[in-house]
Amino acid sequence: MFMSIRSHMLLATGAVAAMLAFAPAHAQETVKIGLILPMTGGQASTGKQIDNAVKLYMQQNGDTVAGKKIEVILKDDAAVPDNTKRLAQELIVNDKVNFIAGFGVTPAALAAAPLATQAKVPEIVMAAGTSIITERSPYIVRTSFTLAQSSTIIGDWAAKNGIKKVATLTSDYAPGNDALNFFKQNFTAGGGEIVEEVKVPLQNPDFAPFLQRMKDSKPDAVFVFVPAGQGGNFMKQYAERGLDKSGIKVIGPGDVMDDDLLNGMGDAALGTVTAHLYSAAHPSAANKEFVAAYKKAFGSRPGFMAVGGYDGIRLIYEALKKTGGKTDGDALIAAMKGMKWESPRGPISIDPETRDIVQNIYIRKVEKVDGELYNVEFATFEAVKDSGKTKK
């Protein structure tokens, strides 16, 4: 009896001693990344793509960088900013993460910004696309895109390519308004005219009345931005109302024609012209390799969200290589500024002044390739900065 208690105590002290001896060394060897994504809810496809892409990159490049082991802690915020803030706090305070990353929607990225500043932890934005985000903390770096990048380009392109009158249909929330304003600014500056402007409520079930308004205003094209998930509904009802046959084109930033959803839309999507940072059909060796590896691992086509995640984790890896594994927030941010590399989407870099992404924007048209729908690129605007900031 006594013996057994003593032996237990011995074991216990032994275990404690072992933990004390190994724990600090272990903590030094691990770099933790808190990945906050919407894995459930309406934005879940964003979260899944980014999670997949991060896993893929780590499979391809190993989970050690500069002698440190990389550990990713995935948390689901369901795109609710209150959750994002709480999870970011838990990750920083309890798990002592060295990076927070992900952020499916703008409000989520903004909710975490003050925490990044306070804790001096780099916040890598892999999805959200409103211009203001990187201005909210000196520790935010973005690898996705801004709506200004794609909307200004499609505005310029439309004005130069014989589209005179445009009706706009955009969702009534921050990214929708960004898309609308930047498009309008460049399109009207190029001599175009907006004949109808409709803002659709975010939770909108039926597009019929709005589409009828579009049709009656007889434009050359309809500029559309709705959250990725609603694009399919929009295109189906657009075809149902016969807008495709009346010669009214659909143009917009590429979110509506996400590779993830494109095939579900059916032939109604054919001929749609959008401006965007990425297409699964981008003709480069790096992209072909990426698409093949992604398809093999997850059985589906990567979209632009996956590329944002793939480049985001790569940015973290490269920054750690530069600092020699040092996880000081300021050193990491300094290492990221001005970094350049060849992404599946083409050449990209991090603007040293704004910490935002600089990338090519492509004009693409939906075409059928091997029985599947793809956004086929036909014009390139090189090294586009976010005009939401350069204006100031």
């Binding site: 309406g42 879940a44 409709v198 803002k199 079930p205 709005f210 009828q212 998930g229 609603q230 149902e240």
Partner: protein, 289 residues
């Protein structure tokens, strides 16, 4: 002028769809005095069953539609026998808590099984597009909705008013004790009615996928619409919800067309005005029990 008719047509189709989706709720709420907030979950079930049959198993759309009805009704009767019947005598608060819990469980379950992306049902080519009728654009799919829902409404009204089952149901609702004294099997009548309501919801869910979109959040997103229909229409008959659905459907579509800046507020404004004018709904009788 032709635009006015197109808007009217779209509004009627939208209203009819709302009616099929919501009338099961009107029956359970009004006739059985049971608050079933999980009604939308049955609609979603019907929608997903139809989508799986058509998209994955290659069934024709019109064969899958009745099956959406039957399977939602079957699930309804199963849940009624095992869970719901224990709550008939409980307070409305208990019923609300129980059914909202069921709704959340259904959302999580469908999210897990089917994924959270929006799903479309592959329609036969004959139902796609619009045709021109004296200058008025008529959507084929919406026309089909109006035909199916119109026939259903007439059939429902006939069943409730003219058949033996209808009079049994009304008797069971008005005074369950006297009704069972007369030899009416009240629990059986209720179970059947509940299942039928769920079946209608399932059919509505299958029909609505094309227009409203189908994802795991369907029951939560559209709960508010079902409740507005029942509140505005009153829940003691099906004529009330029917007229309310039409009014709201046309009001919503016309409002969004003519005053798009008002957005979804038109539907709420209609509701508030009607409720100030008739607090028990369009055809509500003042509570007698």
């Amino acid at each position: 002028m032709t635009t006015l008719f197109t808007i009217l047509f779209d509004g009627v189709a939208y209203g009819m769809l709302l009616f099929v989706l919501a009338c099961g709720l009107a029956v359970t709420l009004g006739l059985m005095n049971f608050v079933n907030l999980a009604h939308g979950a049955f609609a979603m079930t019907g929608g997903y069953i139809c989508a799986v049959l058509v998209n994955n198993s290659g069934w024709p759309f019109f064969t899958a539609l009745p099956l959406a009805f039957v399977s939602a009704a079957a699930i309804g009767v199963l849940l009624e026998r095992t869970l719901y019947r224990h709550l008939y005598t409980r307070s409305h608060l208990d019923q609300v808590l129980f059914t909202i819990g069921l709704t959340f469980m259904s959302v999580a379950a469908v999210d897990y099984i089917m994924g959270s992306s929006r799903i479309f049902i592959k329609l036969p080519a004959a139902l796609e597009g619009q045709f021109d009728f004296f200058g008025v654009g008529i959507g084929r799919y919406r026309l089909m909705i109006i035909v199916i829902c119109g026939l259903l409404t007439v059939a429902l009204q006939l069943i409730l008013a003219k058949t033996r089952f209808g009079s049994r149901l009304r008797a069971a609702v008005d005074d369950p004790r006297a009704a069972s004294g007369l030899g009416i099997n009240v629990p059986q009548v209720f179970a059947f009615t509940f299942a039928f309501g769920c079946g209608l919801a399932g059919l509505g869910g299958a029909l609505s996928a094309e227009i409203l979109g189908l994802d795991p959040y369907f029951p939560l997103k559209f709960m508010i619409y079902f409740l507005i229909v029942v509140t505005v229409g009153g829940s003691s008959s099906i004529t009330g919800p029917f007229l309310a659905s039409l009014l709201l459907g046309i009001g919503d579509v016309a409002g969004k067309y003519y005053v798009p800046k008002m957005g979804p507020f038109v539907i709420y404004t209609i509701m508030i005005v009607i409720l100030i004018w008739r607090p028990n709904g369009l055809f509500g009788r003042t509570a007698t029990r």
